[in-house]
């Protein structure tokens, strides 16, 4: 599970409300995608390319736990996210929808917006192709890696509900 693309860098403590405004949350996914993160960087939704990497700071995705926020990011075609740390509900939602997320404390200090990053979500290694520096992210727990491989929670829910009891 790998991705390579342009780094789009965002700051600390960004709430899900800033990814998808609440009045858009009951609209179409296409509308949410077109406006995702619009208050923080309007160029992101316009110019993001499939495979690009979203990098953000501490406690990314705090506040409301609506899965439409990571779903709107996923709909842009990004290859995944690398954050200094993620808010709990956002973290859970990413794996449940099948969107790879790495936590790598120090990532925002180590990369700049516009750098080209190569990310291996299984090994947790992020390579900055501009500076040729590699960073080691935290390992994704095996349970959540299984969920990513399954394509999210829904495809594995039946098996999970039965085998654990």
């Amino acid at each position: 599970m790998k991705a390579r693309g342009r780094c789009w860098k965002f700051g600390d403590n960004i709430p899900t409300d800033q990814m998808v405004r609440s009045d858009r949350a009951i609209g179409s996914m296409d509308d949410m995608r077109k406006h995702v993160l619009e208050n923080l960087n309007p160029a992101f939704a316009r110019d993001v390319q499939p495979g690009d990497i979203l990098v953000a700071g501490r406690h990314f995705g705090q506040s409301s736990g609506r899965a439409v926020a990571p779903k709107a990011l996923q709909a842009t075609g990004i290859g995944g996210l690398v954050v200094d740390s993620a808010a709990r509900l956002f973290y859970r939602n990413c794996y449940e929808i099948g969107l790879p997320l790495l936590q790598c404390p120090g990532i925002t200090a180590g990369v700049d917006d516009g750098d080209i990053l190569a990310v291996d979500f299984e090994s947790g290694i992020i390579t900055n192709e501009r500076s040729n520096v590699s960073l080691q992210g935290e390992a994704i727990p095996p349970f959540l890696m299984d969920m990513l491989r399954a394509g999210g929670l829904i495809p594995m829910a039946g098996r999970l509900a039965e085998e654990e009891q």
Partner: protein, 418 residues
């Protein structure tokens, strides 16, 4: 084991669980509101294609809309009503109060239970000794609805030990706002927070409630308070169904204990842009406000309305200030009627709104232009939640909301409480 570990062990059919374990636990109640209910219903019907396993455990409360302002919102509510009828789940329609008050007061929340919901403040129900956590739409649609279960990583627990007594004019909400900043946004990611100590023990139940309410905003998974005789008395008002009173073992482990003394606190304000931006009222005093509100997922309690009335009785709010009073439940409005508070607040210039979550995210009220500011008992102050990203939201106690409404600028309530 502590209370949360015992609840998760029991609900997953295990003798013992430890922090870090992944368990699949039976869920006793799923709470959804009008925003999350609609989104979850779409995922359930479009992607899951299985029957609803326990419709009697699923509760939808329309609390962001006391009345839909647009045709498209009316359609969303109608579709959600149809979903509730199709699957036989409980629905509390517009005007029922905010989701957490409606869930509790209608008997769906019990000590020892596993409560999940898509509102991120769902952990508030740890106040009665339940395990309560916010989950995402796919957990609810993909596992809770079709199987009655959810997966959890058993969290490490941090003990929050609170001591001291308030100064006059300072309230438990001031303590909770201050504590949010002390722990910090993201200061307790994925942890369970065990709120205890003499201060918590002495609080009434609706004031204890304000502490598990902050857990999501410091990044925690859940918060809880050990049940006691006050809990049992409180629960008897809402349900006659039996429940398990579980308690933490006296030798249960904590990852850490963080102790705080609240004795020296002044009235606190949390100012936009984030909940960690907290300071004493003296830092913010004098800033103009055009809106004041008692409401939101943690506000609009009878305690809040009584505090505001204490300041507003015989006074009038300033020219240019609009003051929304939003009861958290129908019962609270009835209580306010019985205590004469409805008239007191009305005569002071306030406007009563239907039981709901009020201006929370400005779904049916409470949008602001970029030049406007609000002081409220809401739980969130992030830019853009109430209209313009430049509008400001100040969170405070009901005393401070009322005092600021009288002056038209953020004000120290103690000047009115002498």
């Amino acid at each position: 084991m502590n209370l949360v570990e015992k609840i998760l062990a029991k609900a997953s059919g295990r003798q013992k669980v430890e922090p870090g374990d992944i368990v699949v636990a039976n869920v006793d109640c799923l709470l959804l509101h009008d925003l999350s209910g609609y989104i979850t219903s779409r995922v359930f019907e479009n992607e899951v294609h299985r029957p609803m396993k326990y419709p009697e455990r699923v509760v939808i409360v329309f609390d962001h809309h006391f009345s839909p302002p647009t045709e498209s919102q009316a359609r969303v509510l109608e579709e959600t009503r149809a979903f509730a009828r199709r699957h036989g789940v409980h629905l509390f329609d517009c005007g029922s109060g905010n989701i957490h008050h409606a869930g509790l007061r209608n008997g769906f929340i019990r000590p020892g239970a596993v409560i999940v919901g898509s509102d991120s403040h769902t952990p508030v129900h740890g106040a009665v000794g339940a395990f309560a956590a916010g989950l995402g739409n796919n957990s609810h649609a993909g596992m809770v609805m079709p199987f009655g279960k959810a997966w959890f990583r058993v969290p490490e627990t941090i003990r929050i030990e609170l001591s001291g007594h308030h100064k006059p004019g300072v309230t438990p909400r001031d303590s909770a706002l201050w504590l949010t900043a002390q722990i910090g946004e993201g200061g307790a990611v994925y942890k369970a927070l065990h709120f205890g100590g003499k201060y918590i023990k002495e609080l009434d139940m609706w004031d204890r409630w304000l502490f598990p309410l902050i857990t999501v905003d410091v990044g925690a998974k859940c918060g809880f308070i050990e049940p006691d005789e006050k809990t049992v008395q409180f629960m008897s008002e809402f349900t006659s169904n039996p429940y398990d009173l579980l308690y933490s073992d006296s030798d249960s482990d904590f990852q850490a204990t963080w102790s705080y003394d609240i004795s020296d606190l002044e009235p606190q304000v949390a100012a936009s842009p984030t909940l960690g931006n907290v300071g004493p009222i003296s830092v913010f005093a004098g800033r103009e406000v055009q809106w004041a509100e008692l409401g939101g997922h943690g506000g609009g309690r009878i305690e809040d309305i009584r505090q505001a009335a204490e300041i507003l009785r015989g006074r009038h709010i300033a020219n240019g200030v609009k003051f929304n009073v939003v009861p958290s439940s129908r019962q609270v409005f009835q209580q306010a009627c019985d205590e004469g508070l409805v008239v007191d607040m009305f005569q002071a210039g306030c406007t009563w709104f239907p039981p709901s979550t009020g201006s929370n995210q400005a779904i049916n009220m409470g949008a602001m232009a970029e030049t406007e500011s609000m002081v409220s008992t809401h739980a969130r102050n992030f830019p853009g939640r109430n209209g313009s990203p430049k509008a400001k939201m100040y969170l405070s106690s009901a005393y401070t909301v009322a005092a600021s409404a009288v002056r038209g600028v953020l004000s120290d309530p103690r000047e009115f409480l002498a």
